[in-house]
């Protein structure tokens, strides 16, 4: 649009210049014509030369002149001369030239003509052009706004629908019929594409769940067989050990499977029931459950409750969340070590000493990332914690490492 405006401005300018040029050319031609007639008359009637020493009705004057080379050269100029009619100075076009009389004497000839009308004309023309230019600009802008807005409205609506679409929700992509064939087609294609993507998304979600589900049966069978084998009283020590180790390996698979399944279920929103969960009670119970392990690993645990932390949460997920954090605090601790739990109204802090250095917060929530390789850990603990917290946007988790202690902080905003 700016290109059009620029082109039009240039055109208007050129138009004005050309017209102005034409107008003045005409005036000048008129003056030149007058010069010829005056000189012809001067040849016929030399009295004219004497009678026109001043600008009178004839609007020309003849003065004696010195002879010089360019005597009859035409020189045009513009002067302002007082006009009695308008009682002010008005523009005149003046032709200054010279000629030789019949006697061969040199004379200066000045012819003038009023250009009031022409100048007025040009001024009006300029004004008209400017107005026309403005009108065109405004019209273009208005048409642009109105028409194009109307035309692009269905398109904007499509854009809105698209940005509101979520794969996770099963509501289909809906749209109204537009008046425009191209947009209707666009809508149709978008709907197909989203539908396909939705199916892919769902099947991927299902894949983990199906895969772990399928894995559980052969695991159950094998573990069962090993169980039966272990019952044999005639087994020797080395055989029993190997069988027990084999079973343990399988159990790691089972736990991994269960964790993956849980992750998938959490992400699929299968833990939907919400109730008011008192985290203090959960933590108190867990501390009791973990008593033996804490004692065995020589870990001092202190539970400080400044207030009760109660949020709307799914009870099972809350338990998983807290026990995963606590388990990590136990697992990665020193001997002897400390765990400090601090509960306030909107915050739970779990801090533990550790033999390792600061963890990298960018990595620790990645699935299967294990800082210090602990073969019993499957690396999914914090991923599960994070998945759970993603479902509750008013809760956040952050990690920091201060003075040899890892701090995990759950905040209710």
């Amino acid at each position: 649009m700016i290109a059009i405006l620029l082109i039009m401005a240039i055109w208007a300018g050129l138009f004005y210049a050309v017209l102005m040029d034409e107008v003045y050319d005409n005036i000048d031609d008129g003056l030149k014509n007058q010069k010829i007639e005056i000189i012809r008359e001067a040849y016929n009637n030399s009295a004219i030369i004497d009678q026109n020493k001043v600008f009178g009705i004839n609007q020309f004057r003849i003065l004696p002149s010195q002879d010089h080379k360019d005597l009859d050269k035409n020189v045009f100029s513009r002067e302002f001369i007082y006009m009695p009619y308008d009682e002010e100075e008005e523009p005149y076009r003046i032709l200054k030239t010279g000629f030789y009389s019949q006697d061969g004497l040199p004379y200066l000839l000045e012819i003038r003509t009023s250009t009031v009308e022409e100048d007025d004309f040009l001024i009006n023309l300029a004004i008209s052009l400017s107005i026309l230019y403005l009108v065109i600009i405004i019209s273009i802008i208005i048409i642009n706004q109105v028409v194009l807005t109307r035309i692009w409205k269905p398109f904007k609506e499509i854009l809105r629908n698209l940005s509101a679409y979520r794969f996770a929700e099963s509501s289909p992509y809906t749209y109204k019929n537009t008046q425009v064939m191209e947009f209707d087609e666009l809508n149709l294609r978008i709907e197909e594409m989203l539908h396909k993507n939705q199916l892919v998304f769902l099947s991927q979600k299902k894949f983990i769940e199906n895969a772990s589900h399928e894995l559980q049966t052969p695991l159950a069978i094998t573990i069962g067989k090993l169980d039966l084998l272990l019952q044999d009283p005639t087994l020797q020590e080395s055989q029993i050990n190997k069988l027990a180790e084999a079973k343990q390996g399988l159990h790691r698979m089972v736990k991994l499977n269960k964790s993956l399944l849980m992750l998938s279920r959490i992400e699929n929103d299968q833990y939907k029931e919400i109730e008011k969960v008192n985290f203090n009670q959960l933590l108190q119970q867990l501390v009791v459950d973990f008593e033996d392990i804490l004692q065995f690993k020589n870990i001092q645990l202190s539970l400080k409750e400044d207030d009760t932390f109660v949020v709307d949460f799914n009870h099972d997920l809350a338990l998983i969340l807290i026990s995963n954090l606590l388990r990590n605090a136990i697992r990665y601790n020193k001997d002897p070590g400390e765990i400090d739990i601090h509960i306030s109204k909107n915050e739970i802090i779990i801090a533990n000493q550790s033999s390792s250095e600061a963890l990298n917060p960018d990595y620790i929530f990645e699935r299967f990332y294990k800082g210090n390789q602990d073969p019993q850990a499957n690396g999914l603990g914090l991923s599960i914690v994070q998945s759970i917290l993603l479902k509750y946007p008013n809760l956040s988790l952050d990690y920091s490492y201060v003075a040899g202690k890892h701090y995990f902080r759950i905040k209710n905003t």
């Binding site: 069978i221 027990a244 697992r331």
Partner: protein
């Protein structure tokens, strides 16, 4: 004691059958909805081990249908799905207990025995082995006339060992049964050792003729 296993995975059914038969149970099995239905209508079992995913109909449907026929039998639900809703629904429909796959056979045995004990008319809440008797209802343990004071975990450990005297009970199984899910993923399972030590000490103090024996570091058995 008669047990019915309703499970479509042959190998799993076989595992359970072999294990239970070694514990002197009589075991029958059905591998689909209809044959299970027929058996349940015709016979009475002391416990039914029912897998929820069956060809021909769901296990929950089976429970409902059997109830309608007024052939209520004690049911232990097995499921690979581990979903909370199934568990709740099953228990609401009247199942006695729920166990998710994969499970320890020893755990299955413990639950079956618990169900049978609950359902039996005789108040058979006392386990006995040699001079040791364990009263489940009062949670007390006696060696002859001597009362053994055990804490909760020690009591549970002894209980599981008493379910299968003279048989190996692995550490992992024992820990999972007594401590539940929280105890897993501790890198060293030896924290159970202090409990065992305590129990042995207390048994020694009353000159009991039973003891807990460690089996090659893999587990323990009651002897």
């Amino acid at each position: 004691m008669k047990i019915l296993i309703v499970e479509d995975e042959i190998e799993i059914a076989r595992n359970i059958q072999e294990y239970l038969e070694s514990e002197n149970f009589k075991v029958e099995s059905a591998n689909n909805y209809h044959s299970a239905y027929d058996k349940l209508l015709q016979y009475q079992y002391d416990c039914v081990i029912l897998d929820l995913m069956l060809p021909g109909g769901s296990g929950l449907e089976l429970i409902k249908t059997i109830r309608k026929e007024n052939k209520i039998q004690p049911i232990l639900i097995l499921s690979a799905k581990d979903s909370v809703e199934d568990k709740v629904k099953g228990l609401e429909l009247g199942a006695e207990d729920y166990l998710s796959k994969p499970f320890h056979l020893a755990e299955l045995l413990a639950r079956v025995k618990a169900i049978i004990r609950r359902k039996s008319s005789a108040a058979d809440f006392i386990l006995r082995y040699k001079s040791l008797s364990l009263d489940l209802e009062n949670r007390s343990v006696y060696v002859d006339q001597h009362n053994l004071i055990l804490n909760r975990k020690e009591f549970d450990i002894l209980y599981y060992l008493m379910l299968r005297p003279n048989r190996l009970l692995e550490k992992t199984t024992l820990i999972e049964s007594v401590w539940g899910d929280h105890a897993d993923q501790v890198d060293n399972l030896d924290f159970i050792y202090s409990q065992i030590k305590n129990i042995r000490k207390k048994l020694k103090e009353v000159n009991a003729d039973v003891d807990l024996q460690s089996v090659y570091g893999v587990g323990y058995k009651l002897i």
